[in-house]
């Protein structure tokens, strides 16, 4: 109790302002990635005050940074957006030697094209997970196992799908096209057709995590895709019983990386922050708050219980390998988004 009081007092003094702090860092990130549960410890130890602005989707990063620099020091786009940030010139190469724990990161993540350019790293892998599927337990006697279950006539008006270009990935896999980040025009057209066929069955395309939770809670939908670990735990807290599953057609995987905004004046605090996020404090911080898996396996192993370590698939390289990690679409991006927009316009 006393320690808790002390922690609160520290948090308050940290909030009280940059007057006490030696430096500051401003992050544009997802909710939970700068949660007071671990950020206040960082502020106290480093003397850097943290101010966070939250995004609702990966589409928010570019417009926010395009409006002009000098506001944010660090951003956390997902691996489908990191390349765009590099190509737009919004971020600068990382000094990986100044980041402790870099070697503990899963090699699969360090091998991603999306966070590198010309032999330099621009992103520090932080957290990851699957775009799993999810159903309401009380709505199924035989659990669904396939993406095709989201096209079932008898579930009409009870289906939801993420309002994102990911919908094209889902439909392509249903069509048997597994090269989802490298689809030809014909394959995209076929996916678009499948989505149009599904449209009358869809109750609502979900746009935010909270919206999907509301849809399940209000009994509007019984099956959808989801950010594995996140919405299901929010629903569990509300007493709604749902189960996540990886369909036979496989699932996409996402991975978020910290990136340093070009020419930030707060480099010292930014690197202190990166080091913290890759350490036990940050890695277990995000795992505990958001239910996401950690990118630094070594840190995760030392700060997680063995149950949590297993539940987040940290001990299971096959699981990670089975995920189709989002890849940058580069100049194909427009064709994908255009197809999805055309579905929504109908």
């Amino acid at each position: 109790m006393k320690t808790q009081y002390l922690v609160t007092a520290c948090a308050l003094s940290a909030l009280a302002g940059p007057v006490l702090a030696e430096g500051s860092v401003s992050v544009l990130t997802w909710e939970g990635y700068a949660d007071p549960s671990f950020i206040s410890t960082f502020e106290e130890q480093s003397g850097c005050s943290v101010s966070a602005t939250y995004v609702g989707s990966n589409d928010d990063f570019a417009p926010k940074l395009m409006a002009g620099g000098g506001i944010y020091d660090l951003i956390t786009p997902s691996i489908d957006t990191t390349k765009l940030m590099i190509d737009l010139g919004f971020v600068e190469p990382l000094d990986t030697a100044a980041i402790t724990g870099w070697d503990g990161i899963y090699p699969k993540f360090l091998g991603q094209d999306g966070i590198q350019k010309d032999g330099a790293y621009y992103g520090m892998p932080y957290s990851w997970g699957a775009i799993a599927f999810m159903y309401r337990d009380d709505a199924f006697t035989t659990p669904p196992t396939s993406i095709a279950d989201l096209w079932r006539e008898d579930l009409k008006g009870k289906i939801s799908l993420w309002d994102d270009k990911s919908a094209i990935y889902v439909a392509a896999r249903k069509n048997g096209d597994m090269n989802i980040y490298d689809l030809s025009d014909e394959q995209i057209a076929k996916a678009q057709e499948a989505l149009l066929e599904q449209k009358p069955l869809v109750r609502k395309y979900w746009a935010t995590a909270g919206e999907l939770v509301d849809l399940y809670k209000a009994g509007e939908v019984v099956i959808s895709n989801t950010w594995a670990g996140y919405q299901s735990s929010l629903l569990a807290a509300e007493g709604v019983k749902v189960t996540e599953f990886i369909p036979t057609e496989g699932a996409e995987g996402w991975m978020d990386s910290w990136m340093v905004v070009k020419d930030t004046p707060n480099k010292e605090c930014a690197y202190k922050f990166l080091n913290m996020q890759l350490s036990e404090l940050g890695q277990c911080g995000v795992a505990n708050v958001n239910g996401y898996s950690a990118a630094n396996a070594a840190a995760a192993k030392s700060c997680m219980t063995s149950e949590q370590f297993a539940a987040l698939h940290q001990d299971d390289p096959d699981y990670l390998d089975s995920l189709l990690i989002w890849a940058p679409l580069a100049d194909r991006f427009e064709t994908y988004t255009n197809a999805w927009n055309a579905v929504k316009a109908q």
């Binding site: 589409d59 109750r203 209000a218 991006f333 255009n338 316009a345 109908q346």
Partner: protein, 289 residues
């Protein structure tokens, strides 16, 4: 300082401030949007150009025409529904309601929701129209339906209901004002000349209130034409409106040029409606008979 320069200064301020305001907050942003609309999308973002490709896309790719047609339909329905509800209400307040206190109360009841956050008011309709919502509970408890029905939420019906509720004050206010301005002795004169109440209404009251009706139609139509929250909260898969597409072009698609072109087309539609209604109103004011 002599009086003349001071007067000049005052004159400059009186004229200058509004002109500066219009320049900085209207013409400049519109100019920027117009400029963007001629640019071209090129990975990773877009680049300056002068071409009409974005406008051509808007009128050749069926998805944009579809969304524009849907937006026109929804906003027309919202305006009609608002009119159907607001006119009798305003008429009652002005001509039938005997108690001044009751009239004030009823008028305030229409205006008061404007002080509540728009988002909250739209959100409330979700809890009313939902499958496990208030409307369904009511219908089941009265025995009208046996099973909760999903037909009230996440479709165009829900959007029209929500938008009508939100924008109806903008229909009530101008109609109320127009009706209030009508001299009472006109309807008395009409009665003296042997017209029944219906014909008096059709030939005297209604024509004289047309400026208010036109203003109400313009306001509700333009407001719902640019709305993008209702589709997001209570619309279904087929609920995308123009404003949502613009938001997507500026966000997910990172195609500001196309989004700007769409915004310009929308602006032209809205401006033509406003000028049309302006003409209607001035004709009404000038007296058409």
């Amino acid at each position: 300082m002599s009086a003349a320069p001071r007067r000049n200064l005052a004159g400059a301020l009186i004229l200058g401030i509004p002109i500066l305001w219009i320049l900085v907050f209207m013409l400049l942003p519109y100019g920027i949007i117009v400029t963007y609309s001629f640019w071209i999308k090129k990975y990773p973002s877009f680049m300056p150009a002068f071409q009409l490709g974005n406008y051509v896309t808007l009128f050749t790719d069926p998805q944009y025409l579809q969304v524009m047609a849907r937006t026109l339909k929804i906003s027309t329905l919202v305006s009609l529904c608002s009119f159907a509800l607001a006119y009798p209400f305003a008429y009652y307040l002005v001509f039938r309601c005997r108690s001044q206190a009751l009239r004030t109360w009823l008028y305030m009841a229409v205006i008061a929701p404007l002080w509540v956050s728009y988002l909250l008011r739209a959100y409330v309709w979700k809890t009313i129209l939902g499958t496990e919502g208030i409307l369904n509970s009511f219908l089941i408890s009265t025995g009208i339906i046996a099973e909760p029905s999903p037909v009230f939420l996440y479709n165009q019906f829900a959007m029209v209901v929500t938008l009508t509720y939100i924008f109806i004050p903008f229909m009530v206010m101008p109609i109320y004002t127009a009706l209030e301005k009508i001299p009472r002795n006109l309807s008395e004169a009409s009665a003296d000349l042997g017209m029944g109440p219906w014909r008096t209404f059709l030939h005297v009251t209604l024509p004289l209130s047309m400026p208010g009706v036109a203003a109400g139609f313009t306001l509700t139509f333009c407001l719902s034409f640019g709305d993008f929250v209702a589709p997001f909260l209570v619309g279904g898969p087929d609920g995308n409106l123009v404003a949502n597409v613009i938001a997507t072009q500026f966000g997910a698609a990172l195609n500001w040029p196309l989004g700007s072109a769409l915004a310009i087309v929308m602006l032209i539609i809205v401006l033509s409606i406003v000028s049309l209604s302006d003409r209607l109103e001035s004709r009404g004011n000038g007296g058409e008979f």
